[in-house]
């Protein structure tokens, strides 16, 4: 319909996103609600710009969820996942189990067959990874106790989808219900027709393959790609990696999101992690946006309009029962009240898995077509309601609850972002990095020399490959939360580029830059960098001090001379930087500066008592208390 070429669709979706998201953001509703509303607007029940094909777009856009899980995996090192095993299994298992029981009981009460009730219960027990994680991320709540618990539960749900898919056919109401197309879809995988134990073995083999490939194959591959220096090749490789993983997992009958999550975790310790992140992130953002738009577009308002009371009732029943179960579980797991409420609000909706599982259940005759349609609408509406509920929680409820946990209280749970980013880890940056590390300040290091990155990582440094002049890479390296950006690279052009990027996208960052010459210092100062350090200044002054000492000067006197020289010279550089472009003014001022310094130095040589540090031995004091001047004394 609508002559729906690719460009037409792109035009509609992109326009909807570009128009509605800024408006939603402006109104404080968050981007997800914006996307959802955009979907509703272009959907068949408002403007009607997209129709049936919305469903296909939804399938395509689900890939955004896959990318998101990959990115989350990248952020989570294996040890962190291991530390989360308690919440994942305990909290996640209980949430799925108890919610299933409660929802199934409700379904039984309204008169469904027990098998249908159980299927509906387990399908609706799952929550929406996409909505929840994106919302928590946007609100910067992912690192809080409640956020972490939500994440753990979602991870368990992702795993649980596999056995649920296996369970659903067993719940078929009429034994002969298995439809051909369902079989056909299953036949598409490699595990079709295999006995259960073999299927498990194949899945385990695939998982093992991902882990081993991530460890031993990808590292050299990425290094080779990095050496070419072609950025787009890296993007291609990153996407290829995700798509290949997703396909492999689909082939063995596992959720592709889970597979890419695993791939992400395996690569979390890789030096290419930040580069991968920044390459995949825009795709994830776009596809997730598309995903949310399609959810909005696919809400069947015809169905809602026909029985608004029924739909609203079901929505309320779903949200309230899930909410209460979560609240009780949070209590058991000793969450503080504010975190518990956050946790419960986060996960109280139906999830995108419900769409897949419901159509699957229909094919196997577990759930009737009409019921499935209703439930899909309810699920989509509860997903759409989640950002609203979270907003209400944030604005109305949380201020009343009191103790607000800050996102920084449990930095160990989520990958804590370093407060310092060091660009360039050559001899200069390495010293800075080592000093910071000696004082326990973790720094994220970015370097463009893949061989050096490799070597330094072998020595145990946290170094990542990447070009720090890219805003997306800076973002991935944690520039949003960092305090300092240290530019220690060789090329001043690159440094200036980074300064520009940082000033534009991360104005809160304090920049400390290295300059290899006076001219470079001028340029950096002019670009607005306050903390500029000339490479050679300190070492040459040190050498000068040593030379003076070898000539017989007192150590402290030489040191003080160097300090004075330094202060004077730093001041001069800053003053001259301002007038550098006015050639005449500059030359005049420079000459004056040199003369000043000479005078100062000569004065010091001629009369060590007068120019500096007069406080230690003032002649005036001698004169007053001693009654004699130095000249007289020297004569005596």
């Amino acid at each position: 319909m609508h002559g729906a070429g690719f460009f037409y669709q792109a035009l509609v979706y992109l326009t909807a996103a570009v128009v509605s998201v800024p408006i939603a953001k402006r109104l404080g509703l968050g981007s997800i609600l914006g996307y959802l509303l955009a979907g509703v607007a272009i959907g068949p029940f408002a403007l009607g710009l997209v129709g049936e094909e919305g469903q296909d777009v939804l399938h395509f856009a689900e890939f955004g969820v896959v990318l998101m899980l990959f990115l989350i995996g990248l952020e989570l090192e294996p040890s962190r996942v291991w530390r989360l095993r308690g919440p994942i299994l305990g909290l996640g298992g209980l949430q799925v189990g108890v919610s299933t029981a409660v929802l199934a009981a409700i379904a039984l009460v309204v008169g469904l067959d027990w098998r249908t009730a159980l299927a509906v219960g387990v399908i609706l027990a799952l929550s929406s990874t996409a909505i929840v994680l994106q919302t928590l991320n946007e609100k910067n709540l992912l690192a809080t106790h409640g956020g972490q618990s939500s994440f753990a539960v979602l991870l368990f749900q992702d795993i649980a989808v596999i056995p649920i898919l296996a369970l659903l056919p067993l719940l078929a109401v009429s034994g002969i219900g298995a439809h051909g197309d369902a079989d056909a879809e299953h036949a598409d995988t490699w595990v079709a027709g295999l006995p259960g134990w073999a299927e498990t073995l194949v899945v385990l083999a695939a998982v093992l393959f991902i882990i081993l490939a991530g460890r031993f194959l990808l590292q050299p591959a990425f290094r080779a790609i990095a050496r070419t220096g072609l950025r787009e090749l890296f993007t291609a490789a990153a996407l290829l990696l995700v798509i290949a993983t997703a396909m492999l997992m689909t082939k063995v009958g596992v959720s592709p999101a889970l597979g890419t999550f695993l791939a992400g975790v395996v690569l979390a310790r890789s030096e290419y992690r930040h580069e991968l992140e920044s390459n995949v992130d825009p795709f994830k953002g776009l596809l997730l946006g598309l995903f949310f738009i399609s959810i909005g577009a696919s809400i069947d308002f015809g169905l809602v309009g026909a029985a608004p009371g029924r739909i609203l009732g079901l929505m309320a029943a779903l949200i309230v029962s899930k909410f209460l179960v979560l609240l009780v579980l949070g209590r058991i797991f000793k969450m503080s009240l504010d975190q518990n409420i956050l946790f419960a609000f986060s996960l109280a909706q139906g999830g995108e898995f419900a769409f897949v599982l419901l159509s699957f259940a229909v094919r196997y005759n577990v759930v009737g077509e009409t019921l499935a349609g209703t439930l899909i609408a309810v699920t989509a509406l509860t997903m759409a309601a989640t950002p609203v509920l979270m907003l209400l929680n944030e604005k109305l409820l949380q201020p009343r609850v009191g103790t607000r946990e800050s996102g920084e209280r449990e930095p160990d749970e989520m990958d804590e972002q370093s407060r310092v980013i060091i660009a360039g880890f050559g001899s200069f940056g390495a010293i800075v990095g080592r000093l910071l590390r000696a004082k326990g300040v973790p720094a994220t290091v970015l370097d463009l020399d893949s061989d050096r990155v490799d070597l330094l990582r072998k020595l145990g440094f946290e170094v990542f490959y990447g070009d720090a002049s890219r805003s997306d890479l800076l973002h991935a390296a944690g520039a949003g939360e960092a305090k300092l950006l240290i530019l220690a690279i060789d090329s001043v052009e690159k440094s200036l580029e980074m300064v520009e990027t940082a000033k534009k996208y991360f104005p809160h960052l304090t920049i400390l830059a290295r300059a290899q010459s006076r001219d470079e210092a001028y340029e950096l100062l002019e670009a607005g960098v306050e903390h500029v350090f000339r490479d050679k200044l300190d070492s040459s002054l040190k050498l000068g001090v040593e030379a003076l000492r070898l000539l017989g000067f007192r150590g402290h006197q030489a040191h003080r001379a160097a300090q004075t020289f330094r202060r004077h010279d730093e001041h001069a550089v800053r003053e001259l930087a301002a007038m550098r472009h006015d050639q005449k003014l500059y030359l005049g001022a420079a000459r004056q500066r040199i003369e000043d310094l000479e005078e100062l130095l000569q004065g010091d040589l001629a009369d060590p008592g007068e120019m500096w540090d007069a406080g230690w031995d003032p002649d005036s004091l001698r004169q007053e208390y001693g009654g004699r001047t130095r000249e007289e004394r020297d004569d005596s």
Binding site: R554, A558, D617, G627
Partner: protein, 186 residues
């Protein structure tokens, strides 16, 4: 023979008259370690372990410095703060210095009359040195009556030479006898 450690602190030694001569008078005496702090640590980065080892190797510590603003020069204060560690110099187990002796050897710009009640400086030298005395008493050390050169600002070469000689004799006596009589000589 008592082993003597002279901790010498003068930020502008090259400009000093009195302290140059005083230092020269004792620098090369047998059994005396002359430790020029401003030369050893021009950037104030005191090597704590090295200083503690030096203290352990000596019986008597002399703090020689100009009496700037009624106190020790900043590097000597830095030295006190860093070297006299809790648990080493004082506190439980801090007995490394117990039984050793300390002597302040200072030069003042003002004349002796200024350092008395009602005088220009309102307090006696002993009173003004109380914080230093207490510092070392807390470390279990015996604080000797100070060696003072008053009126350094207006002193003739001959006068300075007399003081230098007096300083040398005092240090020698402390080294050779370590007895009450040497302390009496102060």
């Amino acid at each position: 023979m008592q082993r003597i450690l002279i901790l010498f602190a003068h930020p502008a030694f090259e400009k000093s008259r009195v302290n140059q001569r005083l230092a020269a008078a004792v620098q090369s005496l047998d059994g005396v370690t002359f430790h020029d702090l401003y030369e050893a640590y021009p950037e104030f980065d005191v090597d704590i372990r090295h200083e503690q080892a030096l203290l352990e190797d000596h019986d008597l510590v002399v703090l020689q410095h100009p009496f700037f603003w009624y106190s020790v020069p900043p590097l000597l204060k830095q030295w006190i703060d860093l070297v006299l560690e809790h648990g080493w110099a004082y506190g439980s187990g801090g007995t490394a210095l117990a039984g050793k002796r300390v002597l302040s050897a200072i030069s003042t710009g003002g004349r002796e009359e200024a350092y008395r009640h009602g005088g220009h400086n309102r307090f006696t030298i002993g009173e003004l040195l109380a914080p230093i005395e207490q510092t070392f008493v807390l470390c279990g050390m015996k604080y000797l009556p100070p060696f003072v050169v008053h009126g350094a600002h207006g002193m003739s070469s001959g006068e300075i030479e007399e003081h230098a000689e007096r300083y040398r004799r005092t240090i020698q006596a402390l080294r050779d006898e370590g007895s009450e009589s040497a302390e009496d000589a102060l």
